[in-house]
Symmetry: C2
Subunit: 437 residues, 2 copies
């Protein structure tokens, strides 16, 4: 056993799925942390709304409180873990914890996606840390990896499957040839999707995460509002089958790219080559692809949700702080956030290829090709499908031109009807700027 | 720009492929580290044997030295980067740097695979750090991930493709149906394999890496000598094809498992399901699969070698130290290594299934099945191949029994001749002990 220094006291706010996981992980592993790392970690208070649930987890009456102020006001507490989510009272928990000199570990992607700069700035001013590994990618170490392990690099691109619900739905659609609605209903029944699935299927959740990851990776302020967002509701079994025939998989990607014109940040379903490592990420698993100018292509894979995987990320953050605190060293304060401000590029300026599936109709392919060309979108390939529909694959075009063309094709009197249009991601652009070895 | 504190001085020992990458990465990114993180990082001295090479890299006469003692004796240097490899003078560079209060960042897998405990102990005693992210998996953040991000977990298993040469050879054999010798020759021509390929193809390199990763992951002393090792020289195009027909890929794996009987550490070609994430890692890329009891299954993928990917790992370690030093804080000393000693399990006690390919011969399958059964190895499946050979797939058996059976089948008068025997990895065992969510 290593010589232990002082006990590190954690105040846990939130005893839901993640909070319960954090409580159980620390309780069951505390002896090991002491033995292998000399860190005496203790949950001194735990705050929840349901005392019965707390009892079941093993929270003692002395630990339990229903008032988060009991935790942020407790001078013995070193680290506050906020796992209640939402904006309020999470914001107040952050700011009051900082005011009391406490570090905060949080999984709150929605709050951080919108307010990371202000909150990190408040931590910096107070001389404490704000850590949020669990806010992105569940148990996958990705925040610390960007902040620390890859910090020698200029990060060029981040492309993640960061929403388990949409990856589960698209994977099952691909594996079983089923339609979106059918799989969604099953996912809801099995607990992979919420009764109101919008936060997942429309991309809000992924947008928060790519805002956080891009902010850290590019050292600039990116908020959820900066992220272009499109969901998966229109993806059909036909699209997935046609994509497969073209050698692609359809994945819901959260993308952040550093470009000469600014940050390109977006969440949408995209076609990627079936051989790409991200294409093999199936079910509810998550993965984040990161390209650095020195390291080149990397990928980090794991469970993006769940009580214990998320708790793993939370406790990793807690232990990173506890290592110093235990040794009597004050952890370095949060760095001043985002010394530079990178502009955010408009989605209109994205250069990409497009898959366009047309509904069966006489002369539809020729008419659509003409309309696209008239808007500056050249069609490179025309594929007649067995069901009478036609798939057009465009050459690289400007998103704004494509949007205008799709607008024209949506007119009631248009000579061709578009069933769906999906971006074919230019993965070669992700690695532009990698150093040659 | 963030307020910078004091300059952090690095002494670089080694100006070969990796050292050159480190020099160029720091030189080209120093302004960015200062701007985004407030860290003023400088290479104050650089030691190499070839002054012409040093000049080409941009090393100035004032920086350059051919004597590593000029670096370890220089009181202004905070961090020594050792990238010369080998045992001597690397060992002396470590110990004298520690004696002078300097942290060491090293990529030296051979030395650390054998002597991590002594060297980490010396760093601990001197109150400095020994960091070795670049020793395993090139640019993939895996050492820090195990030490820090996943430290809330009890690590259950580590399974890596950690040698690019063997993965390149096996991938090309699989993709092109070529034989081992043919691909090896091509790999040597292209610079993917050394003229003497033994360190790679016989498993020594991978054994060093899994010794380091297992030591860190399991917090116990494991050395290269503890690792069972078998190379890929006997793998044939027929084996790869037969494996594919069984739904498997053949990969050179470095495996470390925590079992009730001790650490199970080994390097050998193994069959894994073709759908497993590790099976999709192709060419010279590396990946490390890590299973933690809380996080479950994770995988970390990237370039396992090359000047810039390896430099990314080295500089990540340097910046982790520089963050503290720059702020006037002394980095925490290396923890006391390995408070516990886990026994190392004998390979004889491994329980695994086996693929056994027999040379064509009358009654070979029946005879081999009988011999295997006589040694306690039940055959579960017998597959006649188109070329007249037969593949037997055993049920789970004890490695020691299998070795005895293979010994008997190697006798000159044996009624069946074994072309090759390859372990079918029990991947279900990797995840035994993961917490249910």
């Amino acid at each position: 056993m290593q010589s232990s220094n002082r006990t590190v006291n954690v105040g846990l706010i939130g005893l839901g799925t993640v909070g319960g996981g954090v409580f159980r992980l620390i309780q069951s592993h505390a002896a090991r942390y002491l033995e292998t790392r000399g860190i005496d970690l203790r949950i001194s208070r735990a705050c929840g709304l349901d005392e019965g649930r707390a009892r079941e987890l093993g929270v003692t009456p002395a630990q339990f409180t229903t008032d988060w102020r009991d935790i942020v006001d407790d001078p013995s507490i070193d680290i506050v873990v906020e796992v209640i989510g939402g904006e309020h009272p999470a914001t107040e928990i952050f700011t009051e914890s900082f005011a009391h000199g406490k570090h905060v570990v949080s999984a709150n992607k929605a709050l951080l996606g919108r307010h990371m700069e202000e909150l990190a700035g408040a931590a910096h001013a107070a001389g404490v840390q704000l850590r949020c590994e669990a806010s992105c990618g569940g148990g996958i170490p990705i925040v610390d990896t960007l902040e620390r392990d890859l910090s020698g690099n200029t990060v060029l691109a981040i492309a993640g499957i960061v929403n388990g619900t949409t990856n589960y739905i698209l994977s099952r659609m691909a594996d079983e040839g089923l339609g979106y609605e059918e799989v969604l209903a099953d996912a809801q029944r099995l607990g992979y999707a919420e009764a109101d699935p919008s936060a997942d299927v429309d991309g809000f959740d992924a947008a928060s995460k790519i805002a956080i990851l891009s902010s850290i990776g590019f050292a600039t302020r990116i908020t959820t509002d900066d992220v272009f967002m499109q969901g998966i509701r229109t993806i059909s079994a036909e699209d997935i089958e046609a994509a497969r025939d073209l050698g692609f998989a359809i994945k819901m990607l959260a993308i952040g790219r550093r470009t000469d014109e600014g940050a390109d940040v977006r969440v949408h379903p995209a076609m990627i080559p079936a051989t790409h490592p991200l294409a093999g990420v199936s079910g509810a698993m998550n993965a984040v692809y990161v390209v650095g100018d020195a390291v080149g292509e990397t990928m980090f894979y794991g469970a993006g949700a769940g009580a214990f995987p998320t708790a793993s990320a939370v406790v990793g953050d807690v232990l990173a702080l506890a290592e110093d605190i235990s040794a009597g060293v004050k952890p370095l304060p949060e760095p001043e956030p985002f010394p530079r401000q990178m502009p955010v590029r408009s989605i209109e300026d994205l250069m990409t290829r497009y898959y366009v599936r047309l509904l069966p109709g006489d002369g539809a392919a020729a008419a659509a090709t003409e309309t696209l060309a008239a808007h500056g979108v050249p069609v490179g390939e025309t594929i007649a499908r067995g069901d009478g529909s036609v798939v057009l694959v465009t050459d690289t075009c400007r998103e704004g031109d494509m949007a205008a063309a799709l607008g024209a094709l949506a007119a009631p009197d248009a000579a061709a009807q578009v069933a769906n249009a999906i971006r074919i991601e230019n993965i070669a652009a992700w690695t532009e700027g990698v150093e040659a070895n």
